[in-house]
């Protein structure tokens, strides 16, 4: 019986995919050679890459990792790779990389720097990743004092009492605010803190230390250098500038004319001058502005000026965040009968800050890169240290290796941060607008 069937019983052999899809050739044709113009571009840029690689790769790889001086290194390269080879002397990095990272920090105390950075990551985590438990934020609050103590050492009582003073002042502020109104509370709180910091902390810390000496070895500021210094200046600048930036941004948006003009004046002034002039102020003028006899540490002076500098930029970032909120949010705050500070604290700022985080991260990247300018005023950051290393008679005359190393490290740091910022922006994109 012939059975008539309209159903095919055997599979057809699968045909090859169209050349434009899936295959390497298709990809190349589609992405690189779709049209004469693109083909020319491709060839030009391809030649460019080959040329760059041809120039750079031999230098990078026909190099020496073992030598104790530039001359020895050049001899080694000539010996191994033949006369006339101009390879890199990575030996200088091998010998000095710890210095480039830690400056002159005592070797046996490197763990303190490492621990500080580890803690910094922990402290930052709840800020950067909202999914983590909120309790971690308490650690973030303690961290500045902890980090300061770990890095500089000395008695634990000073940072502890400073922190305790802040807590007490805050409690008093809250108490008085509830009883007698916010303004009085703020004024009392600030007065308390000032009195405590100017007259209280150091003597009391001394007393405590005599009673119960708890402390670790002191490391002086002149031993800080290298990337440690960059990160310290950058991070403390950003951390300290955040609250100032918030106040400045609120001030700039406020209806109070005098407050607003002061804020605008400050922001525009700082944004109008280059950071290097502010660093000149830190290195030469700041002592003039202080009462006679005070003598700040140069790192602290730099941190102060960097904080002022970044707070102006921070204010603009946060102002952007404030402006991005729909007007309804402000009105909702008013409708609930919240006063200005409450509506800011409970409704506006949490949202505005969340929107501002990518901006804050890019401000941080910018600031981190700008910390290299401190080499111009004689601090030994990575670039300053490169100069110092080059002045060592053994390495006198070395140029590229140090710069390349410093550049690569900066690139890794900044690139990672900018990726995070982009990730965050993408995530926020879906939530708002």
């Amino acid at each position: 019986m012939s059975s008539l069937s309209f159903v095919r019983e055997t599979m057809l052999p699968s045909s090859t995919p169209p050349t434009m899809e899936g295959s390497v050739i298709g990809w190349v044709r589609y992405n690189l050679f779709n049209g004469p113009f693109n083909s020319i571009l491709t060839l030009l840029f391809g030649a460019f890459i080959v040329f760059i690689m041809y120039e750079i790769l031999p230098w990078v790889f026909l190099s020496s990792w073992t030598a104790t001086s530039l001359q020895e290194c050049r001899d080694t390269i000539a010996l191994v790779h033949g006369e006339g080879t101009t390879g890199a002397c990575w030996a200088v990095i091998r010998e000095r990389y710890l210095q480039l990272f830690y400056g002159f920090y005592p070797r046996e105390l490197y763990w303190r720097v490492n621990l500080t950075f580890l803690f910094m990551l922990v402290a930052l985590a709840p800020v950067l990743f909202p999914k983590l438990p909120r309790q971690l934020l308490y650690f973030t609050g303690i961290y500045p004092f902890l980090g300061y103590w770990l890095l500089w050492g000395g008695t634990i009582w000073t940072p502890f009492l400073t922190f305790a003073g802040l807590i007490v002042a805050f409690l008093v502020l809250n108490f008085i605010s509830e009883k007698r109104g916010l303004l009085l509370g703020v004024i009392t709180g600030i007065l308390l803190i000032v009195i405590w910091f100017v007259f209280g902390v150091i003597p009391v810390a001394g007393l405590f230390n005599n009673a119960l000496p708890l402390g670790i070895e002191i490391v002086e500021s002149d031993q800080f250098g290298g990337f440690t210094l960059s990160v310290i200046i950058g991070s403390s600048g950003i951390a300290a500038s955040l609250p100032i930036g918030i106040l400045l941004a609120l001030g700039r948006k406020s209806d109070l004319f005098i407050v607003k003009s002061l804020c605008v004046g400050f922001i525009e002034f700082i944004r109008g001058v280059p950071l290097i002039t502010l660093l000149f102020v830190a290195s030469t003028l700041l002592n003039y502005f202080m009462p006679p006899g005070t003598n700040f540490d140069i790192i602290l002076r730099v941190v102060i000026m960097v904080t002022l500098f970044s707070s102006a930029y921070m204010a603009e970032v946060i102002r952007g965040g404030l402006a991005a909120l729909p007007k309804g949010q402000y009105e909702a705050g008013d409708a609930l009968g919240l006063d200005y500070w409450k509506s800011m604290r409970l409704i506006i700022l949490p949202q505005a800050l969340k929107v501002s985080i990518p901006g804050i991260v890019s401000t941080y990247i910018g600031l981190f890169k700008d910390t290299t300018l401190v080499s111009i005023i004689g601090l030994l950051d990575p670039i300053g240290l490169s100069g110092a290393i080059r002045s060592d008679t053994a390495w006198n005359g070395i140029v590229w290796e140090l710069y390349a190393f410093v550049a690569v490290i900066f690139f890794v740091f900044c690139f990672a941060m900018s990726r995070y910022s982009i990730y965050l922006e993408k995530k926020l994109e879906t939530g708002h607008r």
Binding site: L70, Q71, R74, E95, R96, L98, Q99, G103, F104, R107, Y148, G154, T162, G165, L166, G189, I190, I193, V194, W196, F197, V198, V201, I202, E220, D222, G225, A240, P243, I244, L247, F280, S283, T284, N287, Y288, P292, G293, N295, F296, D297, I298, L300, V303, T307, I376, I377, G378, L380, G384, G387, A388, I389, R390, S391, D392, T393, N396, G397, V399
Partner: protein, 338 residues
């Protein structure tokens, strides 16, 4: 606002002391000497991979610390640029500046510094490539000249070319390291700085025969440590530590034999006075009796310091020349210790 005060509080822990009281008391209370040095000049001041500073200027600081504390390591080094060295000293960031600084009239008077003496007689010179065939600085008309900014050298250079009616192209540079990069890369025809620096640069080039230092010395550059005006006792200490190092070389006291010489009075009364075995001279400046012994033992006499850092056996390879003792025909001369 809160944060500002917080900073002030943290600042309080950094505050190192008053700039305007008796410096020696501050130094004693602090337990170490604060010394301003160059950010990096081969042979004069540079840190090694452990962060230990060494060099001709650094050794002066060490000698001073040894004299005060008996410990030449009780020094903190503050690297300063040419821009902020005087302000930093004036504002009390450090106690003494040993940064191959030229003693000039206006620095002494207008900038209110006190120079403690001269530990190195230098003069500005020129270095050129040997294959240029230049044998005198007067043949440099139209040349590009590399020069470190912020120093007296650029003023001398301007004057020299002006007086000789020549033109030149200044190539200003911040640090010695960059100057070398430019000079060796032939971005300038001549490099001008103190002749000690030229010698160091020439030695560092790897092939010194390719470069010649021209015979002209266009300026006097007496280099020495300095302190700020207003504390004569401190200036005296600094001055006499320097003099003691020079006297030590004159009297043949070295780091090796000074301890032995100090153990009992010798025949030479000046040695006895200096090493504290006779009279109470140290009290006059407020130093411990055996201060010179410590300084010389731990750092060496002037000649040793010179030989260890910039002498002929170092990569810098400077001859003593005018920096030899006056008894050998040089200019190094200390007033008598009596």
């Amino acid at each position: 606002m809160k944060i500002k005060f917080l900073i002030a509080a943290v600042a309080a822990t950094f505050i190192t002391g008053s700039a305007y009281s008796a410096t020696l008391d501050d130094v004693m209370a602090r337990g170490h000497l604060e010394c301003g040095v160059s950010t990096g000049l081969p042979g004069f001041a540079s840190p090694d991979d452990q962060g230990v500073w060494s060099g001709f200027d650094v050794d002066y600081c060490r000698a001073l610390a040894a004299a005060i504390f008996g410990d030449s390591n009780a020094v903190k080094y503050n690297p300063v640029s040419t821009k902020n060295r005087f302000t930093a000293l004036a504002s009390g960031e450090f106690d003494v500046l040993a940064r191959n600084t030229t003693w000039t009239y206006s620095r002494d008077t207008d900038l209110k510094q006190t120079f403690l003496g001269i530990n190195f007689y230098d003069g500005q010179g020129f270095m050129v490539r040997a294959d240029l065939g230049v044998s005198s600085a007067t043949e440099l008309d139209g040349a590009s000249v590399c020069i470190q900014t912020g120093t007296t050298t650029e003023l001398n250079l301007a004057d020299f070319f002006r007086v000789n009616g020549m033109s030149y192209e200044p190539v200003p540079i911040e640090t010695n390291a960059e100057a070398q990069e430019q000079f060796f890369g032939q971005a300038c025809d001549a490099y001008t700085t103190d002749r000690s620096g030229l010698a160091a640069t020439r030695a560092a080039s790897g092939n010194p025969d390719d470069y010649v230092v021209l015979p002209e010395v266009i300026s006097k550059e007496p280099l020495g440590p300095l302190v700020r005006h207003g504390d004569d006792q401190w200036a005296d200490i600094g001055r006499w530590v320097l003099n003691a190092l020079i006297i030590a070389e004159e009297k043949g006291l070295t780091s090796a034999n000074v301890r032995e010489m100090a153990s009992a009075p010798t025949n030479d009364p000046e040695i006895n006075r200096l090493l504290g075995t006779e009279g109470a001279y140290a009290d006059m400046v407020g130093l411990p009796n055996d201060w010179a012994v410590h300084a010389i033992e731990q750092v060496g006499n002037y000649g040793e310091i010179f030989a260890n850092n910039i002498g002929p056996d170092t990569p810098i390879g400077l001859a003593r020349g005018v920096n030899d003792l006056w008894t050998n025909g040089g200019l190094i001369y200390a007033p008598p210790y009596r």
